[in-house]
Symmetry: C2
Subunit: 264 residues, 2 copies
DNA sequence: CGCAGGTTTGAGAGGAGTCAAGGGTTGTGG
DNA sequence: CCACAACCCTTGACTCCTCTCAAACCTGCG
């Protein structure tokens, strides 16, 4: 499993360590985890609905989505995962997949055996707690998605999603705050926002015409960070992204930070 | 903390043990947890938004909801918890409340110190894993709510919610499968389903007129279990409710069970 | 070159929201 | 024991946001 990319366990560890206190031993244990690299094509299942898995999937590059669906086959993306995310850490304690995991673009994942994850969790209680905490943060994101889908109109919903993704990409690389590759089609976006693809298209056009964000060719350019934060009623605290210690910010002033949305 | 009700830790333990393997020692540890009983009136916060808590809330009786909101103050109930649920076990690893917890009716809770929960989790790895698993099941319910709110129309949404609550109440008491006290107002239901109270009213009337369920005076009577399961596209597997060992069922044939919704 | 998948735009339909008013229930206090 | 108030439920009429259906138009690739 030699990869040209930096060790994906490294970026995963950094995310864990940003929320939990992990020492050198824990770090070594995470970095030495085994993993089997696999490439998956767009719209291919990584985990089928109902499948029992014995490994979790660490995203190396690309984008994957977790899908639920109603019985008419209408799909709903419940969560998305970008590079550095362990997409289904929860499968360690709930191996029967209640929803499908699918690549939204060509994606490279690292399959990490549950046995190895369970092993490090057992040996290092701090890791066990960190894993639990990651599941809790994932749940907080889910909760925000319930609000997003339930109580915001299409424009606000789209703006909120773009803000969330901007913050998440920036957390992995501070250059990516305002411009990032987000390889989801408008159909995928529709499934994330619980809209139709047609309406997604109109909504993105509106955001573009208003000079807030340009979403084209699977790349997102945030044009007006403060504007889109306001349009999306976005408050990033739920993401639990720690600010970097040296908060010199990214190159642009408009970098996502723990700004408080005017809670009028 | 002497209560006339059966030890609420007992029913919580049973829920934990139905999903995780816990032995006699773990059982004793859970049953001996400390707790401070409190009664809360309707529409009163149990945990305020942003508050840092040092205890989790075990519901003894009543109904509580977790609230998110958009910046216009429109509220969205993200999750509800009934007797026997630990409403915010996740706060043990994420003590800064990202959403408010509020009583939907007069409710009795038991405040359980994080320190005590952390203690038993540290001493008994099986309990630590069980706690993690509970958080994961809560997340699975959240995921289903995303689908419910995002991809189902009002009627289906209402039917699905009633099915979920029927299953959850029945899991605590097998008599409660088809008729249970659900002390939420139509405004609360609206906040759960991301509808307006007016539309909730019309939707419940439709379910009543169709002979599926009667929701009146904060009591739910399921009139046609198979019918409402179909109307709600309901598949209970996400709830991870284990079937009782002696599956003699409840008194009525229409008892909720792991029936598969016709997935046409 | 032609196809498949993705994006864009238009026109009409419909489900849920909004606004408004009235009726029912419960609890409290005179 | 009645009266009132607060809260909740119910219904109607109209509006509007999003969906549906449809048709082009890109664009990358075999």
């Amino acid at each position: 499993m030699s990869l040209s990319l930096p060790n994906p366990f490294q970026s995963w560890f950094e995310k864990l360590a940003s929320r939990s206190t992990l020492g050198g031993q824990e770090r070594e244990a995470i970095l030495r985890l085994p993993g089997h690299a696999t490439q998956v094509q767009s719209n291919r299942d990584i985990v089928h609905l109902g499948e029992r898995v014995d490994h979790a999937s660490l995203v190396v590059s690309g984008l994957i989505g977790r899908f639920g669906q109603n019985s008419e086959g209408q799909r709903q993306i419940i969560a998305v995962h970008i590079g550095g995310d362990m997409a289904d850490l929860h499968s360690v304690v709930a191996p029967d997949a209640a929803s499908a995991l699918q690549a939204l673009s060509v994606t490279t994942i690292l399959k990490v055996p549950h046995s190895a994850l369970r092993e490090v969790a057992r040996r290092y209680p701090a890791i066990a707690e960190a894993f639990w905490r990651e599941s809790v943060v994932d749940a907080a994101v889910l909760a925000e998605w319930v609000v997003n889908v339930g109580r915001r109109d299409a424009r606000t919903r789209a703006a909120h999603l773009l803000c969330e993704m901007a913050c998440r990409y920036e957390a992995t690389d501070s250059d990516l705050g305002l411009s990032f590759d987000f390889p989801a089609t408008q159909v995928h976006l529709a499934d994330m926002m619980a809209l139709t693809a047609v309406h997604v298209n109109r909504t993105l056009k509106a955001l573009r015409d208003d000079g807030l964000a340009n979403v084209r060719k699977r790349t997102v350019h945030i044009l007006d960070w403060n504007g889109i934060v306001a349009a999306g009623e976005f408050d990033p605290t739920y993401l639990q992204i720690a600010k970097p210690a040296n908060d010199n910010g990214s190159r642009l002033e408009a970098r996502p930070r723990s700004l408080q949305v005017g809670s009028t």
